[in-house]
Amino acid sequence: MPSSLVIAGRTIRSRLFMGTGKFSSNEQMRDALDASGAELVTVALRRADLSGKHDPFANILEFIDPKRYLLMPNTSGAMNAEEAVRLCRISAGAGLPKWVKLEIHPDPRYLLPDAVETLKAAEILVKEGFTVLPYINADPVLALRLQDAGCATVMPLGSPIGSHRGIETRAQIEIIIEQARVPVVVDAGLGAPSQAAEAMEMGADAVLVNTAIAVAGDPSRMARAFKSAVEAGREAYEVGIASPGKTAQATSPLTGFLKS
């Protein structure tokens, strides 16, 4: 049995985290979440109704069963620490869980995270009792700083959101994984199940996937494919993957007789 993932004292049943943007309908998103087996699900606060009035034109949250999923609001849209913190407070005030995916990307084109503002916001939010999962560039020192600030995980990107380019930041993520005392979640850029498996084989504790599933021809089937890949990658990591060598290794060793 693969080991379980624990974040901020809570056991999370799946190492696949799901995003909820870009689906062609809320029903399709609900089905894909179901197929993914995910427990942790993130929703952009700007898409949700935070007024408590159950706005039928902003009802994405009604498609995510809070008994089944741990809803993790995200601060997408915030351009600085002040805005992100304000959003989190409003979200908590609206009764949403105090788990937040902290994302601050002032550049709307590549959606790359702002390290300075992210650290600033994380420090404030942790003090206010939020469980903070920050989306960051794959910067090992920043990861350590955020961990020291009390973040529950770090979430380095593999490549820009929605780019499907896989783990282009591999060397940096390896360092982050090596140094981390908190779970490392590879977020963004994973376009194929094989890329998710690669992250897991590297020793990432989890991955977060959205675009690759949401825009697939059949999101539910693609969610299942990612689920399998994440499980396979994790299992292989736990077993231990042999490092590649240059020479052939015979499956029946030549010197086997010496042991008998």
Binding site: G21, K22, R46, G77, A214
Partner: protein, 362 residues
């Protein structure tokens, strides 16, 4: 730096059908990747059709003998409530340029009232202003500003805009930069097609966009490609741009500038809108009116004429013969009700996104 403009110019060259088809496929795939299977919806809300400019092609042009009105902030609220009941959470406030009626104080009050109503996203399309005058509007909660250069051809621009502050080409051209400096997050630009040769116009628009993307890296840009529509004044387009040409610009923009929003309004026909919805467009209006008070009849007790921008009473007979409403800016081509447009978007496999912003952010 990647030469996005050169790429764009290549993409809008005359091309055979197969090439256009391949561009459509690439445009669709890029849009899906960056924006998902979603369509952002908005509605225009006309505040005022009073104007001090003479623009030969515009229904609101100063000397057109049309019925005019500027809605009071209360009336603006009435119109907004109606749009919100239909589902809209993103409203574009539009006005002619008349600083006395549509002042920055008036705009601040309109934005504040709509935000108090719970409207998350307010955008403006009004006469260009100074950065300092924009700041209080941003502080009141406006998210975006839209300003079209109309034509990037200086000679034609001068011929089209003969009276009023809009005569100043450079003042208008620099407006998106002032909007950015004032803190608007979403900035819309565009050219009005039908005034000058479309390839040169589109290229100039791409040059402007490219420069803005470099200078204003925190803003999200949208591009509109409005074509001239019939309007008061009976101006006829100087050049034609076909549906195919428009589609080619949409695909070329998407391929050269994959992360930029592309808007398609009710100026275009239902069939063209439905066709392009999955091929690059990211934002649509629906059920639009282009006259102040068009949704609820607000302001119809104050209809009047203007002479050189100054108010004149209109006879009861004239008001009756004009249907007791202010004159529209232009005739729309897609007059399907909001629900019809929305069900069509769903049928095509797209999620209509009404709310994509929250008052909590700003």
């Amino acid at each position: 730096m990647k030469n996005r403009v050169a790429q764009f110019e290549q993409l809008i060259l005359p091309c055979p059908g197969e090439r256009l088809e391949a561009m459509a496929a690439e445009s669709r795939a890029l849009t899906l990747r960056h924006f998902g299977s979603t369509m952002r919806l908005f509605a225009p809300l006309y505040l005022s059709n009073e104007c001090v400019n003479v623009c030969r092609y515009c229904g609101f042009s100063r000397d057109n003998p049309i019925l005019r009105v500027t809605l009071t902030p209360g009336q603006v609220e009435t119109e907004a409530r109606h749009l919100m009941q239909q589902g809209f959470r993103n409203i574009l406030l539009v006005a002619g340029e008349h600083p006395r009626f549509v002042s920055e104080h008036y705009l601040v009050e309109c934005v504040q009232r709509l935000r108090t109503l719970g409207l998350p996203s307010v955008h403006l399309e009004v006469g260009p202003m100074e950065t300092e005058d924009y700041r209080p509007i941003v502080a009141a909660g406006a998210e975006g500003l839209v300003v079209y250069q109309e034509t990037y051809d200086r000679k034609i621009y001068a011929e089209m805009h003969t009276v009023g502050p809009k005569k100043d080409y450079d003042w208008r051209l620099a407006c998106p930069d002032r909007a950015y400096a004032a803190g608007f997050r979403r900035i819309g630009i565009g050219a009005l097609f039908g005034l000058s040769e479309w390839r040169a116009e589109a290229t100039a628009l791409a040059v402007h966009l490219d420069a803005l993307l470099s200078r204003c890296w925190k803003a999200f840009f949208t591009v509109s490609l409005p074509r001239l529509r019939p309007a008061a004044g009976e101006f006829q387009p100087l050049v034609q741009m076909s549906d195919r040409d428009l589609a080619q610009i949409v695909f070329a923009l998407r391929i050269a500038f994959p992360q930029v929003g592309i808007v398609l309004s009710t100026r275009e026909s239902p069939s063209l809108r439905d066709g392009l919805a999955s091929l690059g467009i990211t934002m649509m209006s629906a059920g639009s009116h282009t006259e102040p008070g068009g949704y609820t009849g607000a302001g119809k007790d104050d209809l009047h004429l203007t002479t050189r921008g100054k108010r004149m009473e209109a006879s009861a007979e004239l008001i009756r013969s004009e249907g007791e409403h202010a004159t529209e800016q232009f005739a729309i081509a897609d007059d399907r009700p909001v629900e019809t447009v929305v069900s069509r978007i769903r049928e095509m496999g797209y999620e209509p996104v009404w709310k994509d912003w929250d008052t909590g952010i700003q």
